[in-house]
Structure formats: C-alpha cells, structure tokens
Amino acid sequence: MEVISNHNWALTVGTFLPLVGVLVMLFIPKAEEVLIKSVAIATAIATLAVGIYTMVQFDFGNAGSMQFVAQHDWISVIKSSYYIGIDGISLPLYLLSMVITVLVMIYSWDHVPSPGNPKAFFILMLILQTGMAGTFIARDLILFFVFFELVLLPMYFMIGVWGGENRQYASLKFFLYTMFGSALMLVAFLALFFKTGAESFSIPFLIEQGMNISRTTQIWIFAGMFVGFAVKVPMFPFHTWLPDAHTQAPTQGSVILAAVLLKLGTYGFVRIAIPVLPEAAKAWAPYIGGLAVIGIIYGSFGCLAQTDMKRLIAFSSVAHMGFVMLGISTLTSFGMNAAMFGMVAHGLITGMLFFVAGSVKERYHTLEIKRISGMLLQMPKLGWILGFCAMASLGLPGLAGFWGEFPAILSAYQPAPGLSVNVFRTYMVIAAIGTVFAAGYLLWMFQRIAFGEPTAEFAAGHGHDEDIHDVNKFEWIAWTPLLIAIVVFGVYPQLMFKVLDPAVGVTLKAFGG
C-alpha cells in the first residue's frame, strides 16, 4: 500500500542537499572559517526546511502507508533500484536526523574541537546527514546498505581526528565492529535475495516473499542481520565499542552517534529483519528480549561503576536501547510503538545529555565525577539542565523518556502469540527493576556533580573562573528545541504515537498485531 504523491522529489532533495553543500564548501578556502560555517549551517537548515515541507505534505491520515515514493533504475543488473519512500515509522527519525544535524552545527559554531579545521569537520557532518537521512527512507536493501555504510567513515574521522586522548583506538574499534556486522548483514541480504527467487531487493517485495522461506533458512538469514543491527544498536554483548566511541568522540560526534546512529540498528530490526522474516523473528524474539534485559541491567551496572560522566551516559544508552529492544522483541505493535517512541526519546534526551557533558568538559576540562561538585552554585542553568535531562532519562512521566520506557515494560507482559509468556513476564520484572537502577545512577551522578559545594580545585579564584561560565547563546539556540521537544512529547505523546501507530500496525501484519 503506497501513496504515490507528486512531491516525491522532496525526499531525494532532502537527502542529497547536504552533498551539494559539501561541493560548494570544497571550493571555499580553508581560511574562510566564518563563510564555511555559514554555508554549512545554511545547507543544514535548507535541508531541514525540505524535511519540514515533507512533514507538511505528509498525509497523516494514512501514516501507515508509504508516501513520497520514488523508484528509478539503479543497478538493474542485480535487480536493485533507487527506491525510496517514507511512512509513519521513518518520518520521526528522518526529521530527527535533520534537526539534530542543524543543532549540532549551531553548537559547533564556537565549539569546533581541537585540532580545529572546521571545513573538514562541517563537511563530514553534512555527509553524515545524507547517510542518516538516506537510511531512513531507503526501500531497497542495497540502497539501505549503502546509506547504512555511508555514515561509517565520517564518524570514524570525527572520533579519530577530533576525539579525546584515546581516540585512535576508539575510532578503529567503532569501525571494525560496525564493519564486521555489516559484512554479515550483507551476506544475509544476499541470501534473502536469492531465497526469494533473486527477483528484487525491494523491501515490500521481500516482505511478501519472505514468509515463504523455510523456517531454518529464515533463522540463519536472521542471524546475519541480527549481528549487523545488534552491533549498531548496540546490544549486549556487542556494545563494548560504544563506551569508548562515546567517551573519545567530540561532543558533536557523541550527540549524533547517540541521537541518530544507534537508531539505524533498531530501525533495521523494525523495518527489515522482523517484517521480512516473521518466523525467524518469532524464533529469535526470546533471545533478543533476553539480551535486551541483560543489556538493561548490565548497562546500569556499567553506569554505577563509572567515574567519568560521559562514559556513564554512554553506558546509560546501552541500558536505554535495552528497553527499546525489549519492546521490539515482544513483536507486538504495543511494544513496537513503545520502541519507536523510545528511539526518538532516547535520541532527544541522550543527545541532550551529551551536549551538557560536552559543555561541562569545556568548562572544567575534566569529566571526573569526583572532581566536579556544586555545579549548581557555579552554573545554575547548566546544572538544572543536567538535572532535567537526568530526570527525563530515568523515565519520569511527563517527559519523553517515560513513553519509551513504560509501554515497553508493559508490552513485555503480553508478547505476541507463540512467544513464551512466562519468559517475557520475567523480562518485564527485570526491566522494571532496571528503571530503579536508572534512577540510581542518574541521580547519583546528578547529586555528586550538581549538589554540594564546589571542590577546592574549581572554587572561585583558582584560575578557572573565566572558563566556568553559564550556558552561552549558541548553546541556548542549540538546546532549547531539544528541551522543548522533550517536554512536549512527554506531555502529549499522542503527537508521535498518532504517526507511529498505523505504520507499526502495517509493519506487523505478519504477526496479526
């Protein structure tokens, strides 16, 4: 079911506009930093404008169906085509990627990390933008794969060039993990292609044909995809690249990574793995759920053990993506909705947390939780924003985080028919316990960092005064939208559920969900 609208150019433009910006920037000399930044931000904003146009033209009436569909020959000889479209599942993430890019760029205006070179930095961000947006609209496996991989190199360089002390190790680790996953994923895609008669890579076609594949084959193919996506999510035990990458990456890198890149994995599950291979999904669901809850508890433990603020936040996203995966693993539209919401919410909240962490680092030149204290006395605004994000992140009702977390737990009570109810109810309880841990580590961090008196090292008159200033205007511009979004989606979640729900329903046709 696809709605062919006459706006189908919008997606293509929205996806590739950043590359145009890149071309322009290539011809601007390195020295013209202001010009470079302006061009980059202008491009990003123009892209966002196109995205918003897409949203305006989007027919929310049948969000469940593909819209803005465009299909052209691409690699005809392997029956792969340039086939794009957007529906209720893609739209929020598609827009999220655009918004985040704009905000990150604005934040970067005066936060270009050492060793400088904004030209390269902004160009990489624009390329990232194309990759992210493209992944969310691709309707053809090969196209999806290409976009999925396109984000690798820019992020690799972002971490490796502009990152922290241990950046080279972290970047390489990030790269190898993801590449390993995607290699197996590619094999799985090909196997899928041939098992469905080697006729097309288009996802809708495969969804029709996929259920004809024998169960065992499905399970094997799913295994390949699972590794590919699970590394990206990341799920336990494929998560170890994440803390290093996040800790070492520059703020902008962390934000984009947390806000969008992690979603590529979960999106892959929702969009490809599960609808195409229902049988296998059923077979795998208990294990995915299990890994998810392990990830929740495990991530929380990881957080509790951290002494570094940014690393703590990184581990927290392992835990949060655990909730998302738990929702997905129930294979019910209830859980899937929760997961989709959770993805966006996590994008907003954790992205925001990384912004704050970056600014803290910039002021204190350290993220050692032990060394920072009494931030509320020195920088009340920043401190309260941190507190706000912590509250949002631990799933406080009325803020976005809750709507990803609670329904996900809820959904585990009644997984899709055919899945062991007892197993998933156990998962539910464990996940619920996980929420307490979340409260534990986030508030513990907040208490240690924000409350109390400033440590002697950073107390007034110890040479840090000029660094330690409250939120500046670029930060305000970059953060306000996120903060508002967190509240708005928290208070009135229907805004997003209305879009997600029909699409999820369509996705889960195979499960009668």
């Binding site: 993990y177 053990a305 809820l410 208490q447 924000a450 229907q494 329903g505």
Partner: protein, 831 residues
C-alpha cells in the same frame, strides 16, 4: 440485554455543574504557575511566591466549587442511587489501534482529597512566605512546592492509572528537590536521593501492577465499558465483575500495594521518611505529613475493589494490607519514643497514622480510613507547622527537643494552644477530629472480625498518646534549654540519626538571614505563621463533625457524600461522561457488542448522558433503597448491617446483570461503651507518659536546680509522684527501662541497622557488583575477545613472516611443494 435499562436511563438525571465537569483544570493551574515561577519568578517583586500562592488559592476555589457541586449532586439524587463519577477524557496517546485518554474522574473521594490538598497547600505556601523569607533559593522552593501540588492534584483527579502514575512520579521528583533544598550539605542531598530511591523502588510494583491489571482487564473493560484497562472505573468494576482470575488480580494488587508501601512509608520501607525531615519544615508539613505520603493510601482507596478482591478483604483470615498496617502502627509508634528531634517524632507518628489508614483499608473500613486521611491532614500539618514555628522563632533553627527547647508555652501561646489541640486530635480524644476517624477505624476493624488488629489499634492509640505527651512535655514544659534559652552553641551532632538535621539547620543558618530572629530569645512567630496554625487547629477541632457517628445519621455527611454505593448498575451508568470520550478503538474492528452501543452514542454526542438510578436495574435493584436506609440508619442494631452486607452482590458474588462500582461494605454501629474504652486507653497513655517524663527529666534536673522550683514547675505531678514514690520507682526502673529503652531501642537499632542497612546495602552492593562486572566482564572478557582477535591476527602475521624468507630456492620449494601436494591429493582422490 440492557434495553430496559437504557430507556429507563432517561428518567432521572443527576445534577452536575461547571466546577465538577472541569475539575481537570485544578491541577493545570499550579502546573502553569510552576512555569511562570521558573521563567519569570526571579523578576517578580515577591520572587515568584505570589504565583504560587495565587495558583493554590485558585486551585482551592475550584476544588471548593467542585466539592459543593458534588454535594449538590449527591443530595439531589434519590436515596441509594449510584452517584456516578463525573468523567472526562481526551486522547492522550494511542497504541496498537487503541487510544488511551487523559482526563478526570471525579467522585466523592476525589473531591474530598482535592479539598484537603488544595487547602493544606495554600496554607503551607502562605506559611512559607514567612518561614523561608530570604532563603537563597526562595523562588526554586516555591516552584517545586507548586509543581508538587500540581502533581498531587493531578493524581487525585486522575482518570486512569497512567495519569495517576504521572502525578505520583512528579511528586517523587518534587520531594527529591524539596528534601534536598539545602543541597550544599551532602547529608541533605543524600536524604533526598534516599527518598527518591526508596519510593522509586516501590514504583517497580506500580509499573508491574499496572501492566498486569491492564492486560488482565483490558479485554473485559473494552468490551463491557468501552474503556481501556487503565481506566480506574474500568479496573474497579472489572475487579468486582467476577471475571478476573485469582492469580492475576492478586499479583496486581500485591504489586500495587508494594508501591503504596514505598510511598506511604509503610513498614519496612518507611526508613526514608524520617530522613526526609532534612527538608524545610513546610516541606515536611506538606509532603511528608498530609499529602504525599498519603498518596499510597489514596492509591489503595482509589482502586479499592482491586485490593478488595485481590487481597480477599473481609475474607477469611488476615490479609497483607491489614498486617502491614498493623505492624507499621506499632513499630513507628515505638520509634517515636527515642527521638530527640521533634520533627522526627512527628514523622514517626505520621508513619504510625498511615498505618492506621492502611489497616482500616485492609480491614474493609474504607470510609473511616479515607476520613482519617481527611482529618489527619489538618492536625498533622498543624503539628509540623507548629514545630517549624518553634524552631523558626525560638530554638534557633534547631529541632532538638532535649537540647534547645522546653518551657516554650509561656513564650509562644498561640503555637502552644494550637499544638495542644492538634495533639489531642491526633491522639483521638473526643470530640477532636481524630476521634471520629481513628476510633472508627479501630471500631470497624474489630467489627469486621479482625479482632487482633483492633487490639493493635488500641495499643497504638495508647502509644500515640504516650509519645505525644513526651514530646509536648519536652517542648513546652520544663524550662528553656539551649537555643531557646538564648545560648548560641555550636551544634555538634550528638546522635547518629540526628546528625542530618544538625547539619541541615546549621547550613540553613549559614545562608539565610534568620539569625536576627533567634538572637533575641524565644518569642511568638509572625501572623503569616500563626494564622495557618490557628486555621488548622480550628479544623483539627471541628472537621470531625463531618462524620460524627455518635450524633446519628444526619451527621454522617462524609459517608453520604464520599462513599460510593455498592449497586449493580448498567455499564453505561458507571460514569457520567462529559464531552467526547478520549478512549476509543481507532481500528475499524471496534467491538460491535451490544453493551457498547450506548457508550458509542456517548462518544458521538457531547450531551451529558443521564444515569438511571438503581430502581431501573433488574434484579438486585429493587430492594436497595430500603436496604440503604437501613444500613445508614443502623445506629442501634448491627443485624440490619449484616443484611445490608448481603443485600448487594457486589464484592461477594458475581453480579448477574450490569456491573458493580464498589464492594458492599458494612459499618460498625457506634457504641459509647467502645468509645469510652478507647478513651480510657488514651488517657492512660497520657497519664503514664506524663509520669514517666516527669521522673526521667526531673531526675536529670535534680542536679542543677532546687526542689522549690521543681514544685512550681511540675505542680500537681510532683505531689502525685511524691505520694506514689514506690510506683514511681516501678515505672521508672521496670516499665520504662524495660519497655521504652530496650525494646524501643532494639526496634530502633533494627530499623537503623537492618532495614536501613538493607536499603543502603542494596545500593552499595549494586555498586560493588557493578564495579566488578565492569572491570572483569566488560573490560576483560567482552572487550578482550575483540582486541584478542586483533592481536591474534598480528601474531599470525609475525608468525608467518619466516615464510617470506627472501630466498629464491625456498620460494621455489614452496611453490613446487604446494603443487606436488595438490597433485598428490588430486591423484589419490580421483583414482
């Protein structure tokens, strides 16, 4: 099958009104003013407090209006008719084709609690104007306080569980912010963390329970009532519909109750409550006496049928709730003895009173319990504010009764009087409000066959009287000590559990401008503080008469207004739905069940759908009015109550047609004899305690001051003691030493070391495990595997380097060797 019912529905219409139908506005007002305070507060002349007070007054007005109109609604209804709650929903979120609503569910319970909360909040905010003047985070304080009220109000009007959780958690957040208000000291922020963390632990139950109930009930509620399994009315009637399987509802009830335990500081999760006294006194008064901690009790009262069925209340034997309640009463009361911090005495007394409420609910005494929430709010708030007034104006911001107080009744008459009134109310002395609620609880507990717990209740009454006497004595009698006597001493923490407060108030001193007050001796507080005290004291005195059983039926207004009647009614009558229903099935496959048809039309037109009274319902309906009348008029004989108990099937057996909204409960007839007995016990408590106090503290004094002065001070008590010297020794040496000290101390030790240890221990162990897992598993195993492969590859590289020796002959050898081996294999394989 409800054809008859639906046409009859047009006969009688219940009154309604604007305030009633827009009760949802009440939480909105403070919520908005919260944002106003956050964004503009600092720039306002009164630093944002005006927003807070104004919004609370507004909320109060709306609540009053709602309450009034509800009363009209009830009075306007025919006898025994089921007074349907006023419900209004909008779509809040949707999932898997079903949309879930947010809105209001207003009935007697709601308006009662709304009134209390709005009222207390208003007073506390006025009080805070003075109490926190000059505080460095004045604006933040009012912001949090206002948001807190918003949360509580929202929880009270909540139409469904999710909305209830929303309010519930917002309160948790605000308590975190308010307890940690003076977060410069680690102790305060730790206390805040502990409070949030403990309640959050209880919330596991809330989440799980909601999930269980939702999925068990959803199908039935959607089919029968056209509402989701979250909706409160849905859950209630589902619980009584006889559909739920035992396991599900029991699990759900237990899970929810765990949440209640955490929030309402029931044993064994009560330990956070005393620590929470680290917050400013108004906070203690609002959050930890009269409103927030009541949330747990409210939750139980709100979806009472679930617990009624799930916990098998009124069934055979004791149930979870009643046991927890009973244990809490005693434990907390004993603890109150060994406190030297006045706020902690009050805190433990709060815990103990919450125990009463829980016990009441657990024993089927729904109305008395709810009534106790109502009355307790007034006198407990009054007591806390009184304590605050003392420390504010007399004791140099100390709460140490032994060190810094004493003999204050001369200096602070108003505070003293109000305190005494509230204490009497708390102890349940006739005719103070506490009597009418607390005594009813004990009475009904006994009446419903939980005789053991009746005795527990009585014992609790005794203890309450005793420790309150002690506190009162230490505070107002004797002569000024420490700060009250004008001494400026450096407060050293002399007691492990009091350490927090010392720090807190010390810190409080250091950064607000109150030294001025305390420097010139004890004196009465300003009117901004005393006014609330007076008002509250008045209510503590009078509010009991809302449901003064002894004076016959016409005084039982609270019962009439608040208690839902247990009628079998048509599903459409379960609620009077205002406006369009937010909860509906979006997917095309809406249930075409006949029972939903009337509800569908409700959805379509926004006309108020009148509710038929119970006459129209078939079967059990007819006999009901008489039954009701007989039950309400059951002043003299308890048999008709028994009949009444059997008259309605609700709660006992499955309703054949229609649904039940509330279980049939029976009420103990009032007996002066019983009342007299409990009065005796209470006064015994006063007396003994007074004696003990005199002996104990007098003995201490003996070394310093002369006998004559003792005479003057102790008056009548002294003579008594002298005459009963032998008893005196007996009391002091045996009873007090054996009861008060060892046992209470033991309990307190258990509390601090074991229970507290468990809570803290959980944290530390979690951290420990975390550390180990992180160091060993994550960094070594999982990570090591990956890095391992890398190093393996490297190693293989260096291992293979000799192959590339650079010698041509060896290259040739390798080349031909490979060829030869290949050839050999092929030959072997192919021959």
């Amino acid at each position: 099958m409800f054809a008859a019912a639906t046409e009859a529905a047009t006969e009688v219409a219940l009154k309604s009104g604007w305030f009633l139908e827009n009760a949802w506005v009440i939480p909105i007002i403070p919520a908005l003013s919260f944002f106003l305070i956050i964004f503009f507060g600092k720039r306002m002349p009164k630093k944002g407090s005006e927003f807070g007070v104004a919004s609370m007054v507004g909320a109060l007005v709306f609540s009053a209006g709602a309450a009034y109109q509800w009363i009209q609604r009830v009075n306007g209804a025919p006898e025994g008719a089921f007074i349907s709650p006023v419900v209004k929903t909008w779509t809040w979120w949707q999932n898997s084709g079903v949309s879930f609503g947010i809105g209001q569910h207003v009935d007697g319970l709601t308006v009662a609690i709304l009134l209390v909360v709005a009222f207390i909040s208003t007073l506390v905010q006025i009080y805070s104007l003075e109490y926190l003047r000059g505080d460095r985070r004045y604006t933040h304080f009012f912001a949090s306080l206002t948001l807190f009220s918003a949360g509580m109000l929202n929880m009270v009007v909540a139409e469904n569980m999710i909305q209830l959780i929303l309010g519930w958690e917002i309160m948790g957040l605000c308590s975190f912010l308010l307890i940690g208000h003076w977060w410069e000291e680690g102790a305060n922020s730790r206390a805040a963390l502990k409070a949030f963390f403990t309640t959050r632990t209880g919330d596991i139950g809330l989440l799980t329970g909601t999930a269980i109930l939702f999925f068990s009930a959803n199908e039935w509620t959607t089919k029968t009532l056209g509402v989701s399994g979250f909706s409160i009315r849905g859950l209630s009637s589902w619980a009584l519909s006889g559909n739920p399987g035992n396991a599900a509802i029991t699990m759900g009830a237990i899970a929810l109750f765990i949440a209640a335990i955490g929030k309402s500081g029931q044993f064994p999760l009560h330990t956070w409550l005393p620590d929470a006294m680290a917050g400013p006194t108004p906070v203690s008064s609002l959050l930890h006496s009269s409103t927030m901690v009541v949330a747990g009790v409210f939750l139980v009262a709100r979806v009472y049928p679930v617990f009624f069925k799930g916990m098998d209340i009124l069934g055979s034997g004791a149930n979870f709730i009643v046991i927890i309640g009973g244990v809490t009463i005693v434990i907390a009361a004993l603890l109150a003895f060994v406190q030297t911090d006045i706020k902690k005495v009050l805190a433990y007394s709060t815990v103990s009173q919450l125990g009463y409420m829980m016990m009441g609910l657990g024993a089927g005494a729904w109305l008395p319990a709810v009534f106790h929430i109502f009355t307790h709010a007034f006198f407990k708030a009054c007591l806390f504010l009184g304590a605050g007034s003392i420390s504010h104006s007399s004791s140099h911001h100390s709460f140490e009764m032994k060190k810094d107080m004493g003999g204050l009744r001369k200096f602070m008459p108003i505070t003293f009087v109000t305190w005494i009134i509230s204490t009497l109310a708390l102890c349940g002395v006739f005719p103070f409000s506490g009597f009418f609620s607390k005594d009813e609880i004990i009475d009904n507990v006994g009446h419903n066959g939980y005789s053991v717990f009746m005795y527990v209740g009585l014992a609790g009454a005794f203890l309450t009287a005793a420790y309150m006497t002690r506190a009162t004595y230490l505070t107002f009698f004797g002569q000024p000590r420490g700060a009250s006597a004008g001494e400026h001493h450096e407060e050293e923490s002399h007691d492990s559990h009091a350490a927090h407060d010392d720090h807190a108030d010390h810190g409080h001193d250091t950064h607000d401008s109150h030294d001025a007050h305390a420097s010139h001796g004890p004196h009465e507080s300003g009117w901004l503080i005393t006014a609330p005290l007076i008002i509250l004291a008045t209510l503590a005195l009078s509010s009991g008469f809302l449901n003064a059983l002894p004076f016959g039926e016409k005084f039982e207004n609270f019962k009439k207004w608040v208690e839902p009647s247990a009628e079998v009614i048509n599903p459409t009558g379960i609620a009077y739905v205002v406006g369009s229903v937010g909860e509906a099935r979006i997917a095309a496959d809406a249930p075409t069940d006949s029972t939903l048809a009337p509800d569908a039309e409700v959805m379509s037109d926004s006309e108020p759908v009148p509710v038929e009274d119970s006459h129209s319902t078939a079967g059990a309906g007819e006999a009901t009015p008489e039954m009701l009348r007989s039950t309400t008029a059951a002043g003299e004989d308890s048999h008709s109550a028994e009949e009444g108990h059997h008259s309605s099937p609700c709660g006992t057996e499955t309703p054949e047609q229609g649904v039940c909204a509330a279980p049939q409960l029976n009420h103990a007839p009032f007996k002066w004899s019983k009342a007299g007995l409990s009065m005796l016990i209470v006064f015994a408590g006063f007396l003994l305690s007074l004696l003990v106090c005199i002996q104990l503290y007098e003995k201490k004094n003996k070394k310093f001051v002369g006998l004559t002065e003792r005479n003057k001070v102790l008056g009548f008590g002294y003579k008594l003691l002298v005459n009963k010297y032998y008893l005196d020794v007996l009391y002091e040496k045996i009873i007090v030493r054996s009861i008060a000290h060892p046992i209470a101390a033991a309990v307190y030790w258990f509390n601090q070391k074991v229970l507290d240890g468990v809570v803290n221990g959980a944290g530390t162990t979690a951290k420990g495990i975390a550390g180990w897992v992180y160091r060993n598993i994550d960094q070594r195993v999982v990570d090591g595997a990956v890095n391992g492969t890398g190093s393996v590859a490297q190693g293989a590289g260096s291992a293979l380097r000799p192959v590339q020796s650079g010698k041509v002959n060896q290259y040739g050898a390798l080349l031909f060797g490979a060829a030869a081996i290949g050839a050999l294999v092929l030959v072997i394989v192919n021959t």
